[in-house]
């Protein structure tokens, strides 16, 4: 269940209240988000759409603890992350958030295996346990045979699948996907969206995705539109319905 009216109950996995973000550019104040409310339950797949500059990525950054709001609060699984220190927030991110980026952001000098292993280095897992987790993640994204390939040896779609494997390997509470298909051709984009759907449908993940692509948004269970820093409506969307 996704609500934007601020009336969601305390059981929501993600709860934003009165979320605002203002940037100062010289003497001009730019209000990117303005008093936004959002409730997302566990297992939801939410797409955010809206024109450039509407605040989609900023919202994702605030929900993922990458940025701090000018006002308002974000609570995830009972933890109010907007009150956490930077150090605590970093540790929280490692445990709870899996990021999927438009440009994949793989480290080019590490193999697919090593890229996926990165979040696990922060855990107390042994090398053998880490390997097991990475192999499982690679199997989920269908790249078990590419684990020793470097990013330059992979196609764009494969790189993004490695990015998704990196995002899920530590079993985070939710996934934040910023234009995950924005740099891919249609076929590869469909494969990535299939994968995200499977992660939500079969593995019970919660995913929030920013996209410009209506076809991508259709795959989400709920599509939210942002305009001038405000969530204007919710649409129950697409094939997953």
């Amino acid at each position: 269940m996704v609500r934007i009216d601020g009336r969601g109950d305390a059981n929501s996995l993600i709860r934003a209240r009165g979320l605002s973000k203002t940037y100062q550019r010289g003497s001009e104040a730019i209000h990117v988000l303005q008093g936004l409310n959002l409730d997302v339950d566990a297992g939801d797949f939410v797409a955010f759409m809206g024109p450039s500059g509407s605040g989609k990525t900023t919202l994702l950054n605030l929900l993922g603890g990458l940025d701090v709001p000018s006002a308002g609060s974000v609570t995830v699984a009972g933890d109010e992350i907007t009150r956490m220190s930077a150090r605590k927030l970093t540790a929280w991110r490692a445990r709870h958030v899996g990021f999927v980026f438009q440009m994949y952001n793989l480290i080019p000098v590490l193999t697919a295996f090593q890229n996926i292993e990165l979040p696990l280095l922060l855990t107390g897992l042994s090398k053998a346990e880490r390997s097991r987790h990475v192999e499982t993640a690679l199997a989920v994204v269908g790249l078990a045979d590419r684990m020793h390939h470097y990013p330059r040896q992979l196609s764009g779609g494969q790189e993004q699948r490695v990015g998704i494997a990196r995002a899920i390997v530590a079993d985070p509470t939710f996934l934040l996907c910023d234009e995950p298909t924005g740099d891919l051709d249609r076929k590869s984009a469909d494969e990535i969206l299939d994968l995200l759907e499977r992660l939500v449908g079969e593995h019970g993940k919660t995913a929030l995705m920013v996209t410009h692509d209506p076809l991508a948004a259709e795959r989400a269970r709920v599509v939210l539109h942002l305009e001038k820093g405000v969530l204007v409506d919710t649409v129950t969307a697409g094939r997953a319905r």
Binding site: N61, G64, L66, D67, A86, R87, T90, A91, R93, A94, R95, F99, F101, M103, N105, I107, P108, V109, L110, Q114, L118, P119, L121, L122, R166
Partner: protein, 379 residues
């Protein structure tokens, strides 16, 4: 090591750049080590000088001799336990470039005065029994592949003629820094054959019972020979060696200046390289932070990379310097003590790491302060 591959992959992404940076560390540390070796070679006489020995020279100059008769007068001074003397010969073996010091020594006392030079008894006895006998240092013997029994002709420059010597023994030093490039022969042979300054010696070395009495004895000795035709200038052996080094200029300052410039340049080069490396990887570092690596981790990662470059480059430089010094004195005898001691290697390694740390700290701090949101926005 859990994060070893992260450090290594960071370094190997630009192999040529990393190689060149490590190379600059290698060159700097090689230079540092060689400068320290040269300094040590100049300083060696000072370092090994006996605390209980005084050197008595002619007050006018070191090349002016002193009468042999002074020996007994010196020996009678209370507090003096032993006296020996020697003479600079200044001969040439085959070619002027084959420089090595030759001393005409007092066969009766010289060995006792310098126990740090060890000569086997049998060889010393053979030396005493042969008027043309000579004892050579093991470095010198090795340099010219001389062995006991060889007959060595030396052309005199101060004392004319060709002088032939029979090598009767080889001495070695008790300590690694003892000079084993000397050639000793008997003073009585020199005095017999030379055509001038008969009955004169180059200088005296005096052993004193109490090193704390050195200042008083220096004064006593010089007062004893004051107003004589051959007045003396006495110094501790250490002061004598130090003044000898000083005659060649302020080597210490020169070497320190060169070393400082080299390390400062290295600091700029390495610092600039690391700053570029961090800037190029802004996005990757931001991703590391996004997935949960702390600012402290990123700071440590960048510093660790510079330290690895510094350690590898510095290690190579110091290793090459060690290999270079193992070949011995490259000057043909001017720097007989051409040795890289472990203390310099340790100091060099510490300096390399310190420069690495300083070079890495600013780029590391900027990486640690990086805001993930800003960094990911950059293309």
């Amino acid at each position: 090591m859990k994060y070893g591959h992260l450090i290594l992959s960071g370094l190997l992404r630009k192999k040529i750049r990393t190689g060149l940076t490590a190379g600059s560390f290698a060159v700097a540390l090689f230079l540092f080590a060689i400068l320290a070796v040269v300094r040590g070679a100049f300083q060696q006489g000072v370092d090994v000088a006996g605390a209980d020995r005084l050197v008595v020279l002619n007050r006018v100059s070191i090349i002016q001799p002193l009468p042999l008769a002074y020996r007994d007068r010196l020996a009678r001074i209370p507090g003096v336990t032993q006296v020996t003397f020697a003479n600079w010969f200044g001969g040439v073996y085959q070619d002027e470039r084959n420089f090595f010091p030759q001393f005409a020594i007092d066969r009766e006392t010289y060995r006792q005065m310098f126990p740090e030079f060890v000569v086997p008894d049998a060889e010393w006895q053979a030396f005493l029994a042969d008027r043309e006998g000579a004892i050579v240092g093991e470095a010198l013997a090795e340099r010219f592949t001389w062995k006991v029994g060889d007959r060595i002709p030396i052309r005199g420059t101060i004392f004319p003629g060709t002088w032939e010597f029979n090598i009767r023994g080889v001495y070695r030093g008790q300590r690694v820094q003892d000079d084993t490039s000397q050639f000793w022969f008997r003073w009585d042979y020199l005095d017999e054959r030379k055509s001038f300054a008969k009955g004169f010696v180059g200088w005296y070395t005096v052993r004193i019972a109490d090193p704390d009495a050195a200042v008083r004895l220096v004064k006593t000795i010089d007062e004893l020979f004051a107003n004589s035709p051959s007045e003396t200038r006495t110094d501790t052996e250490k002061a004598f060696a130090a003044s000898w080094v000083k005659q060649m200029g302020n080597i210490q300052l020169l070497l320190l200046s060169i070393g400082s410039v080299v390390f400062f340049t290295l600091l700029l080069v390495a610092g600039n390289t690391m700053a570029i490396a961090v800037r190029e990887r802004t996005r990757e570092l931001a991703v590391l932070k996004a997935v949960g690596f702390s600012n402290g981790f990123v700071l440590t990662l960048v510093i660790a990379e510079t330290l690895v470059v510094a350690a590898v480059g510095g290690g190579v430089g110091l290793g090459l310097a060690k290999l270079f010094t193992l070949r011995g004195d490259p000057t043909g005898g001017l720097l007989p003590f051409f040795y890289l001691p472990p203390s310099v290697i340790i100091l060099g390694a510490a300096l390399a790491l310190a420069v690495g740390l300083m070079a890495g700290i600013l780029p590391a701090l900027s990486a640690a302060k990086l805001r993930v949101v800003d960094a990911l926005r950059r293309v």
